[in-house]
């Protein structure tokens, strides 16, 4: 592997509090040095960053890969391509595939499939329950030992309070957070949009906003009871933000993430039955979108994840209520997040922290920082360069972006995995 110097960049590493103009030197795939004045070492390929931002490769903590089981939607290879184009070098893969990742062998398999791409580290989540069916607890200890970073049943919530109590309690012995899809299943059943005027006008079955807060409130109490570590995925309502803020103030081990649609779009994106905007949880009213955006700034939200859910055209070209929920998100994760910084409320280093060191810390992964000696997982992006999201022209296989037509400022120029350029 050739050595590399990326110079004339704005180095941002939130984990180290670094934000400076300078250069970064890669030797043998690892970060050898970084800072203001590295000179020009001999025999090193040099890249002029042109003043763009160089930050750690992004860590996306919520991705459905499609593989195993749904290869028509996305394969690991196509996801790796989309991830590289999005500046992502590490992702956590949801276990609700077919089969579900509920066996140690499957955890090993996913890790090694990630390594085989040469561009992506896959951190597998393991199922909380066998088959993600919400019934019997999976072998959390063995799964953790095999390398599962945390436990979740993916887009299915643990409905039973008793089961949730037990897994929060039991998982403490092995570390690894319990990651919950926050939606009361009985209130959400059959729903296609957030209940309210818009759903009523469109004649779509609604899910009340409080379906989220009800489950989160329950889970917070169960976490308090058990001392367990809870992570609430893709939060989307103002009330949830409030609940989590208070739980954190109380000192409970509770964290959360959100996904770009929930701070960039509101329910009006459903427009004339646009099924690409059908997500789970569904898009929310504007007041909730604003609350989520504010919670990114005040630190209540710990991470931004793409919540990538690949779907193919046949999953989506259906009447709205029958269409499959979920949006592609790998390629737009950075751009849509940067939109929050252009308004001036969210600082650029804070935005990058939400995409790198903060999710990495939650997952117990070493990635997401620019430390000397660490693998050179890097993302070079121009914070102002304009591009337009066009469904059908995204990298990778899945094209079901809810951001179709959205103009974004902030474009990835290059991605490196362990010093190797994987996107240009």
């Amino acid at each position: 592997m050739s050595d590399l110097l990326i110079e004339n960049v704005r180095l941002i590493d939130p984990a180290a509090g670094l934000d400076t103009h300078g250069a970064l030197l890669v030797r043998h795939g690892k970060i050898a040095d970084l800072g203001g004045n590295l000179g020009r070492p001999d025999g090193v390929e040099t890249i002029d960053g042109g003043g763009a931002v160089l930050c750690p490769g992004l860590v996306d903590m919520r991705v459905a890969l499609g593989e195993p089981g749904f290869e028509y939607r996305e394969t690991i290879a196509s996801a790796a391509q989309a991830a590289a184009a999005g500046g992502i070098t590490t992702l956590a893969a949801l276990p609700d595939s077919a089969p579900a990742i509920d066996d140690p062998a499957l955890v090993y398999l996913l890790r090694s499939r990630g390594e085989a791409t040469g561009s992506l580290t896959i951190l597998p989540y393991a199922a909380i329950t066998r088959g993600c069916r919400g019934e019997e607890m999976a072998e959390l200890g063995l799964l953790r030992e095999a390398g599962a970073v945390a436990f979740t049943d993916g887009k299915r919530a643990i409905a039973s309070s008793q089961l949730m109590r037990r897994v929060l309690s039991y998982a403490r012995a092995f570390g690894g957070r319990i990651v919950q899809h926050p939606e009361d299943p009985s209130l959400a059943e059959g729903g296609a949009a957030t209940e309210g005027e818009l759903a009523t006008r469109l004649g779509l079955p609604g899910i009340p906003l409080i379906a989220e807060a009800i489950l989160v409130a329950r889970d917070i109490r169960l976490a308090r009871l058990t001392g367990g570590a809870l992570h609430v995925a893709h939060i989307s309502t103002a009330e949830t933000v409030e609940l989590i803020r208070r739980a954190k103030e109380e000192g409970l081990d509770i964290t959360c993430d959100t996904a770009p649609p929930y701070f960039d779009l509101n329910e009006t994106a459903l427009g004339d039955y646009r099924t690409y905007a059908k997500l789970s949880p569904p898009l929310r009213p504007e007041a909730d979108r604003r609350a989520i955006a504010a919670a990114l700034v005040d630190g209540t939200i710990d991470a931004i994840a793409s919540d990538h859910q690949p779907r193919d055209a046949d999953d989506k070209r259906l009447p709205f209520a029958q269409a499959s929920a979920g949006g592609a998100g790998l390629a737009t994760l950075l751009g849509v997040t940067l939109a929050q910084t252009h308004g001036g409320r969210l600082g650029l280093p804070a935005a990058i922290a939400l995409l790198t060191c903060r999710p990495a810390r939650l997952l117990g992964a070493g990635a997401g920082t620019l430390s000397r000696g660490a693998p050179a997982d890097l993302c070079l992006f121009h914070p102002d360069r304009i591009w337009q999201v066009v469904a059908g022209k995204l990298p990778g296989k899945a094209q079901n972006t809810p951001f179709d037509g959205r103009a974004l400022e902030g474009r990835v120029l290059g991605t490196w995995k362990a010093g190797k350029r994987v996107f240009a």
Binding site: E197, A199, T200, G203, L204, P205, P319, Q322
Partner: protein
């Protein structure tokens, strides 16, 4: 739908467009009564009734309307349960394009299905009822029926009673009647009144006696049995006790108040036979008659627009 190719919804239509359709329908109503028919307006044109949900009444009404205007009418019934729905919908669109269909009447159990189809077919699409979204021609025929009896729509008080949540008829009527200057009330149990509907410029009542006070038109909605199995209302007899329309309850409305129902009726569940069959108060038979006239007006209007755009 002034310049639009399709009739997918009442929402978004302007008073003059609605007025024009009603005026044209009125002339067809007179023509139909006179026994004369216009056989040549849609001659050589193909109208396909594509019904993914059973409905003898609406399908027959469109069929008759098409034939009276001289169109070639074909009925296609597709049972939604027997096929892979999504594929069928778009595959059907391809098939219809190959058949050179001009006017496509669609009934589907999913909200938005006609809109999806409209993106893919060359024909003008007429929504004949989609899920719990809209049923535009029903609202037009209701309005025509009211206007013929009362001479106007503006200023009337109309109560829409029953299962509003699952009613496309209610939604289309809310848009049409409020657009045309009626004051609209919704009456029903809280579990059957959808969230946010008060923002459509209507008043909600859960006490039917209060809600009927001073009302000119009482529009009843059908209550499906499945609402009881799903726990939205506990029983038919309880429903009828509080939300059924009988003579005593009708007496709470204006003395000359008229009764409507889109059909098919559940006698004894939402409406008492004595009221439904009272020729002095019930407009139900006339609604069916106006249905044909309104559909002729819609087909005629969309057909003319097609010719202009060829």
């Amino acid at each position: 739908m002034q310049s639009q190719k399709h009739l997918l919804a009442i929402e978004g239509m302007y008073p003059p467009e609605i007025g024009q359709l009603l005026d044209l329908a009125e002339s067809y109503a007179l023509l139909n009564r006179s026994g004369k028919t216009q056989r040549d307006l849609l001659r050589g044109r193909t109208l396909i009734n594509l019904f993914f949900e059973d409905s003898t009444r609406t399908r027959t009404s469109f069929e008759l309307a098409g034939k009276r205007l001289g169109a070639d009418v074909i009925n296609m019934s597709v049972s939604a349960s027997s096929v892979n729905k999504g594929e069928t919908l778009l595959d059907t669109a391809t098939t219809l394009n190959a058949m050179q269909c001009d006017l496509l009447v669609v009934r589907h159990d999913q909200s938005g299905a006609p809109a999806l189809l409209a993106q893919k077919v060359d024909a003008s699409v007429i929504n004949a009822g989609d899920g719990t979204h809209e049923h535009p021609t029903q609202a037009l025929l209701d309005a025509l029926t009211i206007r013929r009896r009362r001479g106007r729509l503006d200023g009337l008080i109309v109560a829409i009673c029953g299962d509003v949540t699952h009613s496309r008829v209610a939604r289309s009527n809310i848009y049409l009647l409020t657009t045309m200057g009626c004051s609209v009330r919704l009456i029903g149990p809280p579990t059957l009144i959808p969230a946010g509907i008060e923002r459509l410029g209507i008043d909600v009542f859960h006490d039917m006696d209060k809600g009927l006070h001073g009302v000119d038109i009482v529009m009843m909605l059908r209550l499906q049995r499945e609402r009881m199995t799903k726990g939205l209302v506990p029983s038919a007899r309880e429903y009828f006790r509080f939300y059924g329309l009988d003579a005593a309850r009708l007496a709470k409305a204006r003395p000359d108040a008229l009764v409507m129902h889109p059909g098919p009726m559940n006698r004894g569940v939402e409406i008492d036979s004595a009221v439904a069959d009272d020729p002095a108060r019930s407009l139900i038979r006339e609604q069916v008659e106006m249905g044909v006239a309104v559909r002729m007006a819609v087909l005629d209007t969309l057909g003319r627009r097609q010719r202009r755009n060829v």
